[in-house]
């Protein structure tokens, strides 16, 4: 790796914290009462990232497959938990379903990329797999979260229509087909929008990071294109698997809608 970038020492970090003071000052003048939140947020951002930095450094230095694997498992489980956190009605299988969907979507795409695109020999080389999986998992989590949110509201607001179909002899799959499709669509749209405006409206973090770190912008762009395709694919897989498993949780074995899930 090229190390030609400017390192940020502790004094510089403290100076950057002054930027947060500006935000807090505005909040104070406008009486939004958000100063405390800003302060706690700034502190958490600092502490959390510092800890992660040290953990990552330890993992990079150790370069052992089991530390990398453990890190990925924790990342995926946290993402599964976070994806469904805002849902008030959860079934027994909600967490396992969404965690499995995120795992399936991200691991499959990462594997394909490592084997056929990057052609990495040792899969557990943390330099590639951890940051890339981090991006995939984060995006898959957002997709899964949108999916469960939309699926729930679709089924809840179309309850009578769904039961009309059930009463005519439809299975749950047939009765909610339209609503599952609508939820998948809604969850995928942000990913597609992002693809459309990337480079025009947003400059992605990974690419800017690589450029600052001294990489050739042309190479960084190639990485970014690959990662965008990876994100789109893994998010789609996650959304799809979440949808085809999650709708079942709204029904019991007698093909009835479960009141307690609505």
């Amino acid at each position: 790796m090229d190390h030609s970038y400017i390192k940020i020492d502790n004094t510089s970090l403290l100076t950057a914290f002054a930027l947060m003071a500006i935000a807090m000052l505005i909040s104070y003048i406008e009486k939004t009462k958000l100063e405390k939140d800003f302060f706690v947020g700034a502190l958490r951002c600092f502490v959390q990232l510092m800890i992660v930095g040290y953990i990552l450094k330890a993992i990079f230095d150790a370069n052992k497959w089991y530390w990398v694997a453990l890190t990925l498992v924790i990342m995926i489980c946290v993402a599964g938990f976070e994806a469904i956190r805002r849902e008030k009605k959860k079934g027994r299988y909600t967490f396992p379903i969404f965690t499995a969907a995120i795992a399936a979507g991200t691991i499959s795409v990462m594997t394909i990329t490592m084997v056929f695109v990057l052609k990495i020999e040792s899969w557990y080389n943390p330099q590639y797999i951890i940051p890339m999986m981090g991006m995939l998992i984060g995006n898959a989590m957002n997709g899964a979260s949108l999916l469960i949110n939309r699926l729930h509201s679709e089924i809840k607001s179309n309850r009578d229509k769904i039961e009309t179909k059930l009463s005519l002899g439809a299975t749950p799959k047939m009765a909610v087909g339209d609503h599952v499709r609508e939820s998948i669509r809604a969850a995928m749209i942000p990913a597609i929008n992002y693809l459309m405006v990337i480079g025009l409206v947003t400059l992605p973090g990974m690419m800017t990071g690589q450029i600052i770190a001294g990489a050739d912008p042309a190479d960084s762009v190639r990485y970014q294109v690959v990662i965008m395709y990876m994100i789109t694919a893994s998010t789609s897989i996650t959304i799809f698997i979440s949808a085809i498993l999650a709708y079942k949780g709204f029904f019991n074995k007698n093909l009835q809608l479960r009141d307690e899930m609505l």
């Binding site: 009578d160 039961e163 009463s167 005519l168 002899g169 439809a170 299975t171 093909l255 009835q256």
Partner: protein, 257 residues
């Protein structure tokens, strides 16, 4: 399946929201027992909120009761495959929800699920159209653009296309003007007599029940307060609360819409 239906000591609760928005269990049916015989037009009357719709949902197995059994021809309905049961004991919902596609797509929804030949079923639809007061051009129309009365009739025909033994109608006349309501009631009578379907008619309007049914019960706050033949129920109601309901006194339950 023939169609003797026995409700035996049915007790049912439903989760409802109380004034604080919390979920509470409320008893909607309490020790309900009665029998519907083959060929009946059985009216279930009562003010809104009395548990009438719950009875229909239990028989179609959209819900199962907390206690008690429902038997069809002596066999517990839990022992029939759910999909088969739902097709044989058809339920026409109070609000006629229309599905995607044309009126014809809606009418063939049930038969398509069962993998029946669309050509055969379309022929059957064509035969039934005049009965329902429709012309052939109805089939291609957008169901969302129909009048309320038309939607109600499409709704009934859609259930009929599954060829059920029993048709349950939930307030089929509630949102209709008197003329359209009469049309629906005539249709219900025809379906019973010419198609030999047992009918369960839920209504909060006693006159409508009297026009078409041979047996009836009155449900108030989840309890049966009167049951028997139409003559028994209407001409000689024993309970004063039943008399009040039949006379249209609105101080029972939530009253009438």
């Amino acid at each position: 399946m023939k169609q003797k239906i026995d409700f035996q000591n049915i007790k049912h609760k439903k989760t409802m929201k109380n004034s604080d928005g919390e979920d509470v269990k409320k008893t909607v049916l309490d020790e309900i027992s009665f029998t519907i015989d083959e060929g009946d037009v059985f009216a279930v009357m009562g003010p809104s909120g009395s548990g009438k719709t719950s009875l229909l949902r239990l028989l179609n197995r959209l819900e199962d009761p907390m206690h008690g059994n429902i038997l069809i021809d002596g066999k517990n309905i839990l022992q029939y495959p759910v999909v088969e049961l739902r097709r044989k004991v058809g339920l026409v919902f109070q609000i006629p929800y229309m599905f995607e596609g044309s009126v014809l797509d809606n009418l063939l929804y049930g038969p398509n699920l069962a993998g029946e030949k669309p050509e055969d079923k379309k022929k059957q639809v064509m035969e039934l159209l005049p009965w329902f007061g429709f012309k052939e051009d109805m089939l291609g129309r957008d169901p969302d653009r129909l009048s309320v009365g038309e939607k109600h009739r499409v709704n009934i025909l859609r259930t009929l296309m599954n060829d059920p033994d029993v048709i349950m109608l939930d307030e089929p006349t509630s949102s209709l003007d008197p003329g359209s309501a009469r049309n629906i009631l005539e249709l219900v009578k025809d379906i019973n007599q010419k198609k030999n379907k047992t009918i369960v008619l839920v209504t909060h309007i006693p006159e409508h029940a009297r026009m078409v049914s041979n047996k009836a019960l009155i449900l108030i706050d989840g309890k049966i307060v009167e049951k028997g033949t139409v003559e028994e129920v209407f001409d000689n109601p024993g309970a004063s609360i039943a008399r009040n309901f039949l006379e249209g006194k609105t101080d029972i339950g939530n009253g009438q819409e």
